[in-house]
């Protein structure tokens, strides 16, 4: 589905990373591979360092820390927040919504709309699209989009398919109206036939967690995981991304009347370096314009990789300059989306540690 928005901008991005850093080498002995093979994998996929939240730290803890940082540093006023969108696959509880928990913690006004969205790697695109739609309402002048995930605790440490790439993080993006910004083009697509390609089978209402679901089972490739763990069919994810994302990018560039070389940065979700380099080649853009350095430095934090990508690679240059950017996220659902917009002259764009 295609969307177009007018007179809106991103006015600030803050990424919050847990302080704890885990090295790929620290976990090699957990995988049923030779050391040499694991090291080859590290090079090809870009596995290196991961940020993993301390035990017991929730998505809301990272979000609260970031929101308080913004409020205490006069970068955000509580009274201005008309909507708080929380995108995550790791809510604090089934109910209440984590956005309401944050609302209560910050003591926000009653006229702040709180929305939780269960989305993953395309979550930043979905969250921005919802924020842009809300800003078309007269009552909404400023939206705070929180994207946060602490999924590392749901990934088996003996699963070399998923554990080497996982990361925990949160981000806060401020979105508001601005008549000086040009149109924003957005495209979002879904294919629920691939709902089982990325999933945590147990722990919901359909299959509550119990002793049986906690049993560790070896798969055909020597990985051990239980039904309580995240399971990813990596080959299917790879093929889905290579098949669906390039044509979506081509179409959104055509729709926005933008030549692919006019885009300064392709800031994509980052599952691994290999996948991103193949995407850059397929789209026909220089690999340097499509950064692939987030997973190697921080891990894949699902929907948070795009704002982390922006904060890490553009930093405070984004406070002075304006760039033509193409954002894209793809993953669980299956869901994939892209946005072409101008991004810059923000009030802040930085990373802080929790």
């Amino acid at each position: 589905m295609d969307f177009q928005f007018k007179n809106k901008k991103i006015s600030g991005i803050l990424t919050i990373l847990p302080k704890r850093e885990v090295l790929f080498e620290d976990n090699i002995s957990n995988y049923s591979f030779s050391h040499a093979k694991s090291m080859k994998l590290k090079l090809a996929m870009g596995y290196n360092k991961q940020r993993i939240a301390e035990d017991g730290v929730c998505s809301s803890d990272l979000a609260k820390f970031g929101l308080e940082y913004l409020i205490n540093n006069n970068l955000l006023e509580k009274e201005e927040i008309d909507a708080l969108i929380f995108v995550s696959q790791s809510p604090d509880q089934f109910l209440p919504p984590t956005s309401n928990i944050l609302h209560g913690h910050l003591d926000l006004k009653q006229d702040t709309l709180c929305i939780d969205i269960n989305q993953g790697c395309a979550g930043y695109i979905i969250g921005l699209q919802q924020a842009f739609m809300l800003l078309d309402q007269d009552a909404v002048k400023k939206v705070v989009l929180v994207v946060a995930d602490v999924l590392s605790s749901k990934v088996s440490k003996r699963d070399r398919n998923s554990y080497p790439l996982i990361g925990d993080a949160a981000s806060i993006t401020i979105i508001e109206n601005d008549e000086n910004f040009s149109d924003i083009f957005c495209s979002i697509k879904m294919d629920g036939n691939g709902a089982d390609v990325l999933q945590i089978p147990a722990g919901g209402f359909k299959m509550p967690s119990n002793e049986e679901t906690a049993e560790m089972v070896e798969d055909d490739n020597g990985n051990y995981r239980s039904l309580n763990n995240l399971v990813m069919q990596g080959d299917k994810v790879f093929n889905f991304v290579q098949t669906e994302v390039p044509p979506m990018i081509k179409k959104i560039l055509e729709r926005s009347n933008t030549d692919k070389d006019e885009i300064d940065y392709y800031l994509f979700h980052q599952p691994n370096r290999f996948m991103l380099q193949k995407l850059a080649d397929k789209i026909g853009v220089d690999r340097g314009k499509l950064p692939s350095n987030i997973v190697e430095n921080f891990g894949n934090s699902s929907g948070v990789t795009i704002p982390t990508n922006i904060s890490y690679n553009l930093g405070n240059n984004l406070e002075k300059n304006i760039y033509n950017v193409c954002l894209s996220g793809f993953g669980v659902g299956l869901t994939w989306g892209a946005i072409v917009m101008k991004l810059g002259r923000v009030k802040f764009n930085k990373i802080i540690e929790f």
């Binding site: 080859k40 994998l41 090809a44 080959d235 790879f238 093929n239 290579q242 380099q277 193949k278």
Partner: protein, 76 residues
């Protein structure tokens, strides 16, 4: 080209004989991560970028199927 492919395969999986006329995937000689390493090596060695949509098991069943993939990428 065939010799170079054999050399790369052996470098990735030294424990197997890739001269055998068997299906490398079905026999467990190459898994998905070996294919990632293989594609990375082939891209570097032949100065190409194998299309992501071609990174499917069928193209890595045998030395001949890998050679065909390279030919598709204009490797002579």
């Amino acid at each position: 080209m065939k010799d170079k492919v054999l050399e790369i395969l052996t470098e990735i999986q030294p424990d197997f004989d890739f001269k055998q006329n068997i299906n490398f995937i079905e026999e467990g000689m190459l898994d998905s991560f070996d294919i990632v390493n293989l594609v990375t090596k082939l891209d570097e060695e032949f100065g190409i970028s194998i299309d992501g949509m071609d990174i499917i098991p069928e193209n890595f069943y045998s030395v001949d199927s890998i050679v065909n993939l390279l030919k598709k990428n204009d490797v002579e």
